[in-house]
Symmetry: C4
Subunit: 205 residues, 4 copies
């Protein structure tokens, strides 16, 4: 099964999701600056969700780069991740149009949590196929960021009913934590390049 088509399909879905969210930014009625006011919270959630999807695309890209063979399980784990990502435009719209009210804020966190779990499942599925000595297994051995994200999302969902601004701050914090590119895999890739193993990989593509 070819990796290229899995990457292309995932890229397509993420590119569409990142773009159709902008359709939630409904063109306001009036032509003056005040008309933009109700769009502002939707815009802020759009910025957050755009960043989150950008991070997923980025990490997905790195992870598949060090993946060899695509098995049926990897394919379905990948579709499972795309499913939760596909709900981001909906929860973004609900949170934005309700000015960050508690229930939409909690649901936003729940979808992000399920996407994070789906990503972890996909990662584990790839490692199961590649073996414990594979580059990916070594690169994400401890996966501190992954575990922290999941804990922060769980905290944010609970805290949404105390004060939703804490939850929103946590969502931003998780995004900022990931904006630092995932050096772990990049290092592993660099090592491979140095050792000449990358040639084989290029031919396989």
């Amino acid at each position: 099964m070819s990796k290229g088509r899995l990457e292309a399909f995932s890229d397509g879905v993420i590119a569409i999701l990142i773009t159709i969210m902008v359709l939630e930014l409904r063109v306001p009625m009036g032509a003056d600056w005040n008309a933009l006011r109700p769009v502002l919270p939707v815009f802020l959630t759009y910025v957050l969700s755009f960043t989150v999807l950008g991070i997923y695309w980025n990490n997905h890209h790195h992870m598949l780069h060090v993946t060899g063979r695509i098995t049926g399980s990897i394919l379905w784990a990948n579709l499972h991740l795309l499913f939760w990502l596909s709900l981001i435009p909906f929860v973004t719209g609900w949170m934005g149009e309700n000015h960050f009210a508690p229930p939409p804020t909690a649901l936003y966190g729940a979808v992000l949590l399920l996407a994070a779990i789906a990503y972890t499942v996909l990662q584990a599925t790839i490692i199961a196929a590649e073996g414990p000595d594979s580059r990916l297994a070594i690169a994400v051995r401890r996966d501190v960021k992954g575990k922290m994200s999941i804990m922060m999302y769980v905290a944010a969902i609970a805290l949404a009913f105390v004060n939703q601004w804490i939850s929103d701050a946590l969502y931003v914090a998780v995004a900022l934590m990931w904006l630092v590119p995932d050096r772990r895999i990049e290092h592993t890739v660099d090592d491979r390049r140095a050792s000449g193993k990358v040639e084989k990989e290029k031919v396989e593509k």
Copy 2:
């Protein structure tokens, strides 16, 4: 005619279809949990249709993997399949927003039936081009799953007017049956890999 562009176009269309369905999940007005209630049946049909489209992408992927030359007939048989798949968001929306009423449930089944027939036609067109000894011909020789799907869809359409929940259960059953990855083609591919024929294929891509 290059297989790559046919795959890319099909991937694009399926990726868009799987994603625009989420636009039917209209952002509800209120900010409390009750506001989500009317969205629930739409969400459930979304899950079903997402799975169905995921299965089509997966099987399409496997089938084209063992296809060699793309003829004009294959190209049009492929567009014919994409046409029926493109109606899935519409019937999903109609069924979801009408809480699985009989006519929308029957129409949903009719579109799935026509898509299944179109897939069978595409399969037969590829086999006609590749010959009866081709890998695809051998892999799908009996095609039990394909024939069962078509029969189950026919039954579901008729039963929608008796009790639509039977139809919905049948749609879920067909999806579950396919969720088991199509081992037949995967095996054939593995055989090829073993026999070294896969090298030629990789160069051709």
Copy 3:
């Protein structure tokens, strides 16, 4: 400039156009068969436009297959074609929702006419870059179908104000004429394959 990215971008735009048209098929309010009635003319125009876009994708695919180098002029001629194609969902919606009234029928024809002219311009631009002895120049030497399509569209626009059903019949006739795959280029490609020139091409991709 690489042909691959031009093809991928064109495929992306056509795949999106062919798919977002389905958003014009608005989910009807009621759950009975009568509720589908107003959707029927929109559905029929959808079938026609899906076929027209499928034909463009098919022919575009063939044409670029025999194109070598992509120049700046080819790139812009291609974007010009995509622009007119991008208006097809709009005119499809207007014609469908107004049950084939004369002005929407004429505008539909006008957009198809401008797309056909843009395709001819793109073809001429590629031939200008490739030279009069290029495979494409030989394959479309007389271009009977291209010229006939343009004449039929001109006739259909004028006749829309006499009887719009004649125009609609002409649109269907043009589509049927093209549904026969463009053997001309396919033959030329086969000749190349036979003469071994196709090897070079594959490496270049």
Copy 4:
């Protein structure tokens, strides 16, 4: 990190943006020519935005063609550019539906300005990775067009409150200035091809 996937993702996002703008061309209610009147200003802004996005795609294509390695910074600079481009459908809709009123005209310019700055940042990020003697660094040494575009957008934003038609004329002027394909990079590419270095590049893809 592979250049191909970055290009494919960017192509996907730009293809979707250029296409979903057409959804702002809402199908008018009536079936006569007068019904098209309110669509006209939206259509004109659509033409402008289509051209602007076409230019970005074209230039992005040229720039990445001469880029070697994709670093984490380049990836994020690219997503930053896509973010501002993703707001073009929104500002296009606001400007079009308000018949070029001053605030929408100024905001349209602001988004184009931020996109132009993001493009310059992406260009600088690539040059920082490739070194001052890289082909891209040489090709855009003075970057007169880039600097002029930014100045013209700043002027247009300010002038929108004096007379918005001056601003609109400036937007059109910037687009026309770029419609001339970016000969600088094309020349550099031709030099490479001549010197045989292009072979290495093809293999790397």
